[in-house]
């Protein structure tokens, strides 16, 4: 930086160009908003189909009310949804253990090859939506709760294994070195050196993922897996709108219960 002095003029010039860039950026963002509004609300929307505000309100008013008759038939699907979330999370944990092992830089066995492979698996698992996973598994194993469980498991693998492998990478090296120095094998290092360190965070992550999985398992039924999603789908197709409201309230109730449980469990662990 010798021979170059930054005067106040230079500084203000730099600053003003920065501000100009910012303004252009914001104007671009706003232009995109207008474009989207134009394409979505003016070009793509059929206002005749929607009609006036009154007809929208009328459509909305169909949803008001509860269908008490279907309530007893919703308890078992709600339980099924809950079980699907639990089993899916558990299976996801089992599947994510090897992926996390391969995906942690300091313990991966084959260097860059296995590391890259595991990272690729994690990214694919996270970027495919649970509905698509469910579609694929319904095609593979047929209807029922099983494709839902598998879909939830495959969707959870990415998140759980990413957190676990990050924790393995950030684990304290001293106990690991000590076990290695005492002649421990790779398995000993894993079992006595790393797992005790990462266990609390991992359990917290699993509870968090379980909480999300309840939400996801409620929609698995829309594409053929069981649970409350299937009940929702049926009510929707029968145009029984109060029934739809009832199912949604059941879903919300289940999710709130799950959220309270997970909050309580995480507090207990931490």
């Amino acid at each position: 930086m010798s021979g170059y002095q930054l005067t106040i003029d230079d500084y203000s010039k730099q600053n003003s160009s920065k501000i100009l860039k910012k303004i252009i950026f914001y104007i671009l963002l706003i232009i995109i908003i207008f474009l989207s509004v134009y394409f979505i609300i003016i070009l793509d929307t059929d206002w005749h189909r929607i009609g006036s505000g009154a007809s929208i309100l009328k459509q909305l008013s169909y949803f008001i009310g509860l269908d008490l008759k279907i309530m007893p038939h919703l308890i078992l699907p709600a339980f099924e949804t809950f079980l699907m979330a639990c089993l899916g999370t558990m299976l996801g944990l089992i599947l994510s253990l090897p992926v996390a092992w391969l995906g942690a830089k300091n313990v991966t066995p084959l260097g860059a090859v296995s590391f890259g492979f595991a990272r690729m698996l994690m990214t694919i698992s996270r970027s495919v939506h649970e509905i698509i996973w469910a579609l694929i598994f319904v095609g593979a194993v047929g209807l029922g709760a099983l494709p839902g469980i598998l879909a939830l498991a495959f969707r959870s693998v990415g998140f759980i294994s990413k957190i676990i492998s990050e924790n393995i990478e950030g684990a304290d090296k001293k106990p690991i070195e000590a076990i290695k120095a005492a002649g421990g094998s790779g398995f000993d290092v894993m079992y006595y050196g790393i797992i005790p360190q990462i266990l609390p965070t991992v359990i917290g992550t699993i509870i968090f993922e379980w909480d999300i999985n309840i939400r996801r398992s409620a929609v698995m039924g829309l594409v053929g897996a069981g649970g409350l999603g299937l009940a929702f789908f049926r009510q929707m197709h029968m145009s029984n709108y109060p029934g739809v409201t009832t199912v949604i309230l059941f879903i919300v109730g289940l999710i709130v219960i799950g959220e309270i449980l997970s909050h309580y469990l995480r507090k207990k662990i931490i």
């Binding site: 474009l35 970027s127 194993v141």
Partner: protein
Amino acid sequence: MNNNEIYKRNNAKNFIYISLFFFIIYLCFLYLGIDFERFFSALGRFGSLIANRYYPVEIPYVLEPGYLGSILDSIQMGYLGLVIGVIIASVLAYFAASNITPSKKIGYWIGKFFIIFSRSIHETIWTILFVTIVGFGMLAGTMALTMYCIGFFGKLFSEELENVDMKLVETIRSNGANEIQVFAFGVWPQVKTAFTGILIYTWDVCFRASTIIGFFGAGGMGWYLKRNVLQLEYARTSAIILSIIVLVIFSEALSAYMRDKIYKETQ
């Protein structure tokens, strides 16, 4: 009682717990009507499905102008839903943050309720509901994504607001500032960076959701996916899924890069 006995007893206890655990899982499987043969062959079936049906990926299909246009549709839906959702969610989050909310009794609960409610319902269910109300098309998708963003952004942002340093806020308030001034000079500067970070993250998540909601009647890529799934066009389906994966990875990388840049700039 020596160590050996304790060890033995602990072992027996663990054995009982583990066998109980497996028994419960067995009961769950019985209850859900899953036979084990099907469960253990699931991975093999999955592999053979991918290899036999999905494998010859029909890449040219996703390069057709119709499909590329639907990608643009998805991006626009995600963007507009994000903008509207974030505007609503910011107000709700302001009310739902327990430390700075202007009305602790009513406003707090209203804000909290709306955020939890829109979070509890999955984006696909929102889509189905809005499709029944306003019909097929991108408007329903935009509304569904708006609700999704309210839940997602509202929760993260209200948590961020609750972590604000209250000393600064109190200082400004004790100098006679009104609620708006307190927010503008006490709260906003503290959460500005987090707001932008969460905003970009929400955009990423929202785009991910916008790729799929078309499956239930909103526009965009999901609609093409539904059509090809129903027509059993496996080669095209796998091409669409592949294109979604690529786009999601791209958006994730972009959002990670932008968040990194913003955090670096402010530090």
